[in-house]
Symmetry: C2
DNA sequence: TTGTAGGCGTTATCAA
DNA sequence: TTGATAACGCCTACAA
């Protein structure tokens, strides 16, 4: 029962040809600016096409010419402002070259990711950008034929000889933890995405490295996971809190989060329990939402190089799609610390 | 020189048929669960298809069957978190029914909008959701054939007998201005999107109505326009400010904005000039970014009913695409005031 | 300079 | 139960 109502009683090159009493292949050539066509005819065709409201059928074109001018992007959590930025940048820039961008959200699920890869593939895109929900060889193998037209974002995966736009999440975790450690925080909680998400795991490894450098060992049971949102950040904190005793079930002076939303979950928790940030508890975010500069206190966070990420994607797309180059590119960009007011220096007196 | 490298050396129903030494039409039927096919054959086909890594070509399918299971969305500024939410909600929900969503950004430009409508149309979508960049009859006329498969968001346009998902921006402007007026603000500045953007114009009209009800007339020269961003909000304020005199070039006690980003531009301006919000200047936002609850001071803003908007879209999509219904629906939802701490009550002593 | 014919991968109709 | 065949709208040799 799907799709019963009809679409455009379509104007095709055939119907234009009929009107003009010429052959439809002439129309096709005229419309494609084939120089073999007399200027006069071309103009007549173009005029008639406009008159009749002709829209080329890109399905037919794609089927025939094996190029759809489509870029497919598969991200996790497209509500994340960094990803939205990257997507918008790519799609508006590539639109100028006639490319259309489709974007799907895997929501950190391997199953949804698989479905997304399959739908994307069935649409014969010229290029795919994938932020893997996990290192799932089966899912990634589906893309093996595309490897010169595939960017993996945020994850290294050597079994596929494809482009990579890497962001050093391990380094992000590292500088995030260093900010806490250098200010005397030892009892840190980590709130992050589920660890099957590669960049989340990298993030935690970066944190571990920082602890090691401080001669400390980091206890993995202090890593709590959930999906990015204020609510989940709040809930995670709340579950660790014993209101009767006005204390955490484990010592916590600082919370390292994978996402500004999680950090605001901590803010909400603090507000609800009359705790002060940073005096009672310190927090550090990740992503650097532009608004985070205005929060109370201003959120110390890790700035993701979103402009650089978008630029790196664009360099590859440009080189492959517009220049027809074939080299495989690997680009990387590092996040930076934005130190504001949500981490207290415990060492000062 | 575009698209020189090749894609999948594609597995098609034809190649499966060859392997199995049966006709390709049998393969097609088997894959589509046509009951005329013997279970045995069907299973063999499915097995072989999986083995060979078959991906159906949706271009061919769409060309043949005149239904692409594609929903096209054209928004302005898809970085706006409300729109991102709506888009994500629609796309993930419709993905469960096999639909793919493509989204384009018109960036408030009629020209880009036109290009977007044309690309979208060429892809033969089953449904289009459009937030018009302006009331441009020429652009909208392009969609006349789609009217039963078209939602206009945020704008009423009666020349097209299509679905509408309306948000009462005029009411939003009205309650926004009322919040200012009821707290004694008379000298208000308005920062909004360019007025050719229909919802921005509605917003301003709502503000005017509120002023009228207070027996005041609203001076349109107090409306400043730009594109939503912290930077533009900041710049607009800065241009009105004379640092030497430490004063505005016109009396301003409150700023009414069309977008939380603009409001944070005002925050930034205040910070830069040692002004205090709300004591020196009041601000009210629009959209209600979830993080706005944590800003300093917490931002008073207008909450857009994003869940309701998404739901209204879904009701229509569900009814038309999945149930094959033909009635035209018009849904509306109203924004609400979220009173927090960025508007000072001038009437209290 | 224009027209004819074949095919891209499907689905759908009819015959076998 | 299966197979041949004709579209869908477009592009592109090749022929005229």
């Amino acid at each position: 029962m799907r799709g019963t109502t009809s679409r455009n009683k379509s104007v095709t090159i055939k119907s234009i040809a009929e009107e003009l009493k010429i052959s439809f292949s002439t129309v096709s050539k005229a419309l494609n600016h084939n120089p073999a066509i007399k200027t006069e005819t071309r103009q007549a065709v173009i005029k008639k096409a406009k008159e009749m409201g002709y829209t080329p059928n890109s399905l037919a074109k794609g089927l025939r010419s094996n190029t759809t001018e489509t870029i497919a992007i598969i991200f996790n959590d497209i509500e994340n402002p960094v990803l939205t930025y990257v997507f918008r940048d790519i799609s508006t820039k590539m639109a100028e070259y006639g490319y259309t961008t489709i974007i799907l959200d895997s929501q950190f699920s391997e199953k949804i990711e698989r479905a997304n890869i399959l739908t994307v593939l069935s649409r014969q895109p010229d290029f795919i950008i994938l932020e893997p929900a996990s290192i799932n060889p089966e899912n990634l193998a589906l893309l093996s034929e595309m490897s010169n037209r595939l960017i993996l974002q945020g994850t290294q995966y050597d079994a596929l000889n494809c482009h990579h736009v890497h962001v050093d999440y391990a380094y992000g975790g590292y500088i995030s933890a260093c900010e806490m450690l250098s200010k005397g925080h030892r009892d840190c909680l980590v709130i992050t995405e589920r660890l099957s998400f590669p960049t989340s795991e990298q993030f935690v490894q970066g944190i571990e490295k920082a602890f090691e450098e401080y001669g400390l060992s980091f206890d993995r049971s202090r890593v709590k996971t959930g999906h990015s949102s204020i609510t989940e950040g709040f809930t995670i904190m709340q579950e660790l809190w014993t209101p009767a005793e006005n204390a955490f079930s484990m010592p916590i002076t600082g919370v390292i989060t994978f996402d500004d939303n999680f950090a605001y979950g901590v803010y909400k928790f603090a507000t609800n329990n009359n705790l002060n940030i940073p005096n009672d508890i310190s927090v550090i975010g990740f992503d650097d939402n532009p608004i985070s500069a205005f929060s109370m206190p201003a959120l110390t966070t890790i700035h993701l190089p979103k402009e650089k990420m978008a630029e790196n994607h664009m360099r590859i797309l440009h080189s492959v799609l517009l220049k027809g180059r074939t080299e495989i590119c690997v680009f990387s960009a590092a996040p930076t610390l934005v130190s504001r007011g949500s981490v207290k220096n415990l060492l000062k007196t």
